[in-house]
Amino acid sequence: MFKNYLKIALRNLKKSKFFSFINIMGLSVGIAVSIMVSLYVVGELTVDKFNLHYDNIYRIETGQWFHVPAPLIPIIRTEMPGLEAAALTDRQSIKINFDNNDHTIRNTIFAEPDFFDIFTINIISGEGKSALEEPYKILLSEREAKKIFGDENAVGKQITVDKEYAFTVAGIFSDFPENSHLSLDALSSFKNRKIMTKQEDFYENWSNWNYQTYIRLSDGKNPNEVIDPFNIAFNDFVASMDEDRSEIVFNLRHLKDIYFFKDLNKNDYCKHGNMQYLLLFSMSAILTLIIAIINFINLSTARSSLRAKEIGIRKVNGAEKSDLIKQFMGESVVISAISFIFALILTELFLPQFNEIIDKELVLDLFSSPSTILSLIAGMPIIAVLTGLYPAFFMSSFNTIFILKRENIRGKRGLRSRRFLMVFQFIITISLILGTLIIYSQMKYMVNKNLGYDKEHILYFWMNSDLKEHNESLKQKLLENTEIKEVSIVHSLPGNFIMEWGRNLGSGTHVTFFSVPCDEDCIKLLNLEIVEGRNFDPDLESDKNAFILNEAFAKKFDLRNPLTESIDGNKIVGIVKDFTFQSLHHSIKPMAFTYFSDWSWLVSIKVMGNDIENAKEIIKNCCNEFSDEKVRVRFLKEDIEAKYANDKRFSLIFTIFSMLAIIISSLGLLGLISFEVNRRTKEIGIRKVLGATPLEIINLFNKELFILLGISSVIAWILGYYLLSGWLQNFAFRIQIGVWYFVLSGFITAFIALFTFSFLAYKAANSNPVDALKYE
């Protein structure tokens, strides 16, 4: 019996090639997109789960900072009930030298030994936890060791770190999993931080809030029961030291919340995911699949009249309803199996491109990942049931006598449900088009938005200590080149990490603001407009440590005459027009330039013309005169654009998914419409015999289509508005959702539908009516 079903299924597929193509292509693409998105989603949702103590790991934070100062650790160890392990950590990029070759290890984590009791690290050779007990030892990842030492055994080798410290490679650990919030290429004792920062009072210094600190609690311990007594103990301790200090409240963030939590105002050195993108990707993948499934249901029920005779004959010959349901379900199993095979091929083909866009390394590992195989095995029957169930019940309930008497059952039945499905399909299509239009416009807006400063011609690099020592001469040397227009030495540039300061105004008000220590050329270099006052004047001794504020500063703290105010006793000499110094996700916050260059290690250079590569060479050559070490010259515009890379990536993926969904949806529409025209061939014939013109016939069809489109548009617009205005809330600077987006989305969908409909109706309307009628 199964063989018989399979035979019929394959022969039917072959017979109606166009419909089979729509069904299989739609399902394959839908499934392939779903597989890729699932791989991504599963990857994102399992971040950090490889840690054996996943459930009990927390990071200690305050409302303002993800980092804590080193002297906090003894209090953590004594005042947290149920604490199993705690470790201060600090991530640095270090330069090492081995055998006269320089290497940079980007993600070196300096940690206390308990790090091993918190995170799961697999030691391959040499020491493990014990290496973190003492200074001057380092553990390398397998990959990093191979990079530096090749195939030689790395354990025991001596390396020079940051040109002055001799470290021994104490052990090798397996490459740290990619799906972790931490990047880890090397591990070394936290004690080395004290040595390398050369701070005698390292463990007593309460002003360095620089260290991410992880703890592990005992099984089942409620974090609130831990942090509350800790906060009380800490603030008692603070009060005993310094009565004026305001209360600090610490909180514990569970490991699962670190990866998906990103506050762009605060820095940590972790990798972060974006839950919102995850949801939107999943949604668009599910929508693509739903559209493909609806296509299948629509086309199967619409075409059921073509199967009617077969159903009747089978019934007369003894088939029960259940036999027919089994048969039709069997056919959907065949189609979904074929679609799965195509989907796997598509996934294999397009996964590298998808990876490139999302910047991940997803792999479709069918043979070594039981969970992937299991989900595919489970997925296939689910798709088969979703696609096949309704058509199977619908068709198996045909009345045998009517069928065999050849009464007109051409899809009249199920017309209402088909209209419903068509409306549903329109809604999805219109929403996706609307989403694509708005997301695309927002991205374009961000890329083209005037940030309020010149980012086009600015190159920059960080000085090493040799260059810093000669920074004035370096500046002059650079300015000798005709290609270089201006040079300024600053602490940071827009788009970089900008310090947040807390200071007191002359009036006594405590204010927090972003601060950029810089020299007198910075304002000019960035092409900022001074709206009040003047620039810093190097000839005025009184300008030392002075401030130039942005408008937001004056506005936020209500400074009526800012130039008469002071900050910590230093005068305010000017106000610049607001500019976007963070990303466009943020509104413009209070910030100030400070005329103070001791902390400035960044040289920013404005160049003439557009030959950036040549300018970089000139800069490097100038630096070579003062230092042997090569500097890395960066282009500000690229850095700023990188800030929007995630948004761009998201917009690109969304556009691709939407396009796919729209294409599949349009194909389904084409199928439905061609069936509808077919179904009404006789009607067209009769109308033509009675004198209807082709245009009148086309309009007859389009009227119903317009009504369905109208209903769908209204629903899609409300839905789209709700979802997209929510998404736009992520941007401090955003486009207004204008009426034209709605009109355009409806118009595009109407165009696709009307074009298909009119084309097919035109063909039917121009055919010879005799052909249509003689079939009866």
């Binding site: 018989n4 019929i8 089978r314 019934k315 007369v316 036999d323 006598i401 008497k405």
Partner: protein
């Protein structure tokens, strides 16, 4: 074998009520060959559908092999039908996507016969209907006469006790029509009860008895041949 008491079938739509069968009393004995005649729309096919357990009557009683079946559910009717009744239609009603062999095999699949037994039965019946050489062909590749022979093969492959034929000769030329009637006669002589709807008085002559229907009533019954149990 078949007995109906005041069999009535009414078709209702929203506004119209059509009485297709009106208090019809028919009795068909086992082994009989009965022709049903009458003008278009007189209820011939409806009678055949009810007797063939494709449809339930609106009123009246219907005994099939002494069982009262007029209130049977679709599933019960299907079960009774699949091993007892074979159908032959004027338009042959073969499944275009299946070969001759597969079309004939179809009823055997639904009575869950073993594959070996099926093969044997289908081959036997194809031989008997002189269509074995076309076993692998699809219906569209056959002539009308050949298609009807396949349809007969399919109707008799389960060795049903009753064959219902709804104007089986309409789409055949006279030679093929006669050949079909000979086939039916032979099956009848082997013991199969046959009830056939026809417009042709010539083909009705093959039957033992002709029932004339008009507007849902039986108007006359003519006995053409002697029939003995």
């Amino acid at each position: 074998m078949i007995k109906t008491n005041n069999l009535t079938k009414i078709y209702r739509t929203d506004e119209v009520e059509t009485v297709a069968l009106n208090n019809v009393n028919v009795e068909v004995t086992k082994g009989e060959f009965v022709a049903v005649m009458g003008p278009s729309g007189c209820g011939k096919s409806t009678l055949l559908n009810v007797i063939g357990l494709l449809d339930n009557p609106t009123n009246g009683e219907f005994y099939f092999n002494t069982q009262e079946v007029s209130k049977y559910t679709e599933r019960m009717r299907t079960n009774l039908r699949k091993s007892n009744i074979g159908f032959i239609f004027q338009s042959f009603n073969l499944i275009d996507e299946l070969t001759v062999y597969e079309n004939v095999e179809l009823p055997l699949l639904y009575i869950k016969m073993s594959s070996a037994e099926r093969k044997k039965r289908v081959n036997e019946i194809l031989d008997r209907m002189k269509i074995a050489h076309r076993a692998k062909h699809f219906p569209q590749q056959l002539s009308g006469g050949q298609q009807q022979r396949v349809a007969v093969a399919r109707a008799v492959v389960t060795t049903p006790k009753l064959i219902l034929a709804d104007e089986p000769t309409v789409n055949l030329d006279s030679a093929n029509g006669e050949e079909l009637m000979d086939m039916l006669t032979q099956l009848n002589e082997e013991g199969t009860t046959i009830m056939m709807v026809t417009h042709s008085p010539t083909f009705a002559e093959y039957a033992h008895r002709t029932i004339q229907l008009f507007d849902g009533h039986i108007v006359t019954e003519n006995i053409k041949k002697e029939f003995h149990l």
